[in-house]
């Protein structure tokens, strides 16, 4: 790839970004403006377009806050409040991050374990694989609140229930990816191992494990994004315990739209950061083995 191509890519992304921002501002103007006009007409006051335009970006509870309002809210709740305070977005992001990471680690380990079992044991494959796939057609996220409530009933609160939901969501992509990956070893290499009379364990550690790594990282990226979704949805029923999910819910209860959007933007940043981290690790790991 030449530098020329990169420039074009950068230009296109920048154009897209500017376009989206303009659309956002226009949408905010239309939605909030209509809100204002309704309110004024209800009080039988006269209004002019110039007045609406000047007021639309400063409504207290806008239908759609303008980008600068959201950025200001994030700035206020990240840099101008103590990290330990309940008003700090960093405090909530850290709670969400904890359960995301714990669930991600547990889910990945479980997924790898199931994949190893499936690859080495045909009975396990025949009985488990259809259900691994079926488990994902069940909208598990929908029961996330129940898991949290039920575990709360036996005094299991805080990190563990949310991490369990993240784990359930993240084990699937890892299982599927690893089953593919552990079987992706080069046929010639596999035959060489058999020629050397290698045991199943030796074949695993010397060949299969390395053949599976590109597949593993591809599925880890999907898994960590799902973990974050699981953690956020798991936080919905536990408003008091904090987290980005509880910020979303309390914001929607009290009509604090700016709070909702700042929590949304924060979780978007967190999500892309986590996926980028996995990608970065992947590049470092695979580069050692001559990967691109």
């Amino acid at each position: 790839m030449s530098g020329q191509w990169y420039k074009q890519q950068w230009l296109a992304v920048a154009t897209m970004f500017i376009l989206l921002t303009i659309i956002w501002y226009l949408a905010a103007l239309i939605l909030n403006g209509n809100q204002l006009i309704k309110n004024l007409e209800r009080r039988q006051q006269s209004w002019s377009y110039s007045q609406i335009i000047s007021e639309a970006y400063a409504v207290k509870r806008p239908a759609l806050p303008a980008p600068h309002q959201v950025v200001a809210e994030i700035y206020k709740s990240v840099f101008q409040t103590k990290v330990t305070s309940k008003r700090s977005l960093l405090y909530h992001a850290q709670i969400t991050l904890n359960s995301t990471l714990l669930g991600f680690v547990l889910g990945s380990l479980l997924g790898i374990a199931i994949a190893i079992g499936i690859v080495h044991n045909r009975t396990l494959e025949a009985s488990l694989m259809p259900w691994v796939i079926a488990s994902q057609t069940i909208p598990i996220l929908a029961i996330a609140p129940i898991v949290v409530v039920v575990l709360g009933a036996i005094n299991l609160t805080g990190l563990i229930p949310k991490a369990l939901i993240s784990m359930y969501l993240s084990f699937f992509p890892v299982t599927i990816g690893m089953v593919k990956g552990l079987r992706a070893a080069d046929k010639m290499h596999m035959e060489l191992m058999l020629t050397y009379n290698a045991s199943a364990r030796q074949i695993f550690w010397k060949l299969r494990w390395f053949a599976a790594q590109p597949y593993l990282f591809a599925s880890l990226k999907v898994a960590i994004a799902s973990s974050l979704v699981g953690a956020i949805v798991g936080e919905l029923p536990t408003g008091a315990q904090g987290g980005l999910g509880s910020r979303l819910l309390s914001g929607s209860y009290y009509g604090q739209t700016v709070q909702i959007w700042s929590a949304l933007l924060m979780s978007a940043l967190l999500g892309s950061l986590l996926v980028w981290l996995v990608g970065f690790t992947e590049k470092r790991m695979l580069a050692r083995r001559g990967g691109q």
């Binding site: 992304v13 009985s127 069940i138 909208p139 039920v150 892309s272």
Partner: protein, 319 residues
């Protein structure tokens, strides 16, 4: 000979375990711990039963089809039996985990209610949102493939959107579109749009250069190239997105209902029954959601087989 004896023993023990669960009073493990031995033996022997059936699939023909179907079913049945035995045997409180039989009874007694919820959530919100989301994702992908600039701008954005929790948009949509199903459909549209876009672009670009050259040699029109070459090539990718989206759509609609609904809908049912601690009803709703999710996924898989019958991954499957 030995394996046959093991398999017969497995069937006998499973039947014994079932009769124990049906006849004994709840809490029988609390009174006689020794009865657990029957369950453990039944589990161990059923493993032999499963291995025997798995080996059948090597024979090929009708037997392998029987094996492919029966092994997962027996596995699931064993799981349900363990669940039922433990919940009944240790008298686990209903709030924690109801027995499978209780869930099915609750579902059976509340069929009209569950059907109304299903109509509200699935037939209105999910179907509408899914069609709009997947349709627009497909159309935008078709535009993006034609223009390099659009592709450069859209794809990183699409990838970014797939790494963030889009479900979080639900409260905003409820504010904009009100409590009824259109707000849920809007969440579903946003959730399904990006997977469709990314997959369709990847699919339309997966055309073999040789095929593209051939089309050009035949002086094919743009539309002909699209319908005769690009679209068939993209079908496996498109179906991947469709299958993924069928689950995403259900999740989006149910989670959006946690943020405000009229007094009907699966998400509403789950959250209110949890509040009343009617766990059997909650699980019955989950059962409906699971059936709906699996049925949509299965139907899409069947459709995929019919449409992409030419694809090696389908042709290679022995029926």
């Amino acid at each position: 000979m030995l394996s046959t004896i093991r398999q017969i023993a497995a069937v006998i023990l499973i039947a014994l375990q079932m009769s124990l669960v049906v006849t004994l009073e709840n809490g029988f493990y609390n009174r006689h711990m020794g009865l657990l031995a029957v369950l453990i033996m039944a589990l161990l022997l059923s493993w032999f039963l499963l291995s025997g059936l798995t080996r059948l699939s090597d024979v090929g023909g009708f037997r392998s089809r029987v094996s492919k179907l029966s092994v997962p079913l027996i596995f699931a049945f064993m799981l349900l039996l363990v669940w039922q035995s433990l919940v009944c045997g240790f008298d686990v409180p209903l709030v924690l985990l109801p027995a499978p039989t209780l869930i099915v009874t609750a579902a059976w007694h509340n069929l009209p209610l569950l059907w109304a919820d299903f109509q509200q959530t699935y037939l209105k919100a999910v179907v509408a949102g899914y069609l709009i989301g997947c349709g627009s994702g497909f159309l935008v992908a078709r535009l993006a493939v034609r223009s390099q600039f659009l592709q450069n701008g859209l794809l990183p954005f699409g990838n970014f959107m797939s790494s963030i929790p889009i479900v979080g948009i639900a409260p905003v949509m409820v504010m904009w579109f009100g409590f009824d199903w259109p707000s849920k459909a809007a969440v579903v549209v946003i959730m399904t749009f990006f997977p469709m876009l990314i997959n369709t672009v990847a699919g339309l670009q997966s055309v073999d250069p040789l095929h593209a050259d051939l089309m050009r040699t035949y002086a094919a029109k743009k539309s002909q190239i699209f319908f005769k070459n690009q679209l068939p090539q993209a079908m496996p990718f498109i179906f991947n997105a469709l299958k993924l989206n069928s689950t995403l759509a259900l999740i989006g609609a149910i989670v959006a209902e946690f943020f405000g609904t009229p007094i009907v809908g699966m998400g509403f049912r789950i959250s209110t029954e949890v509040g009343r601690m009617n766990m059997d009803m909650v699980w019955a709703t989950i059962l409906v959601a699971a059936l709906a999710g699996s049925a949509s996924y299965g139907a899409l898989s069947l459709l995929e087989r019919m449409i992409t019958f030419w694809h090696p991954s389908i042709r290679g499957v022995k029926h």
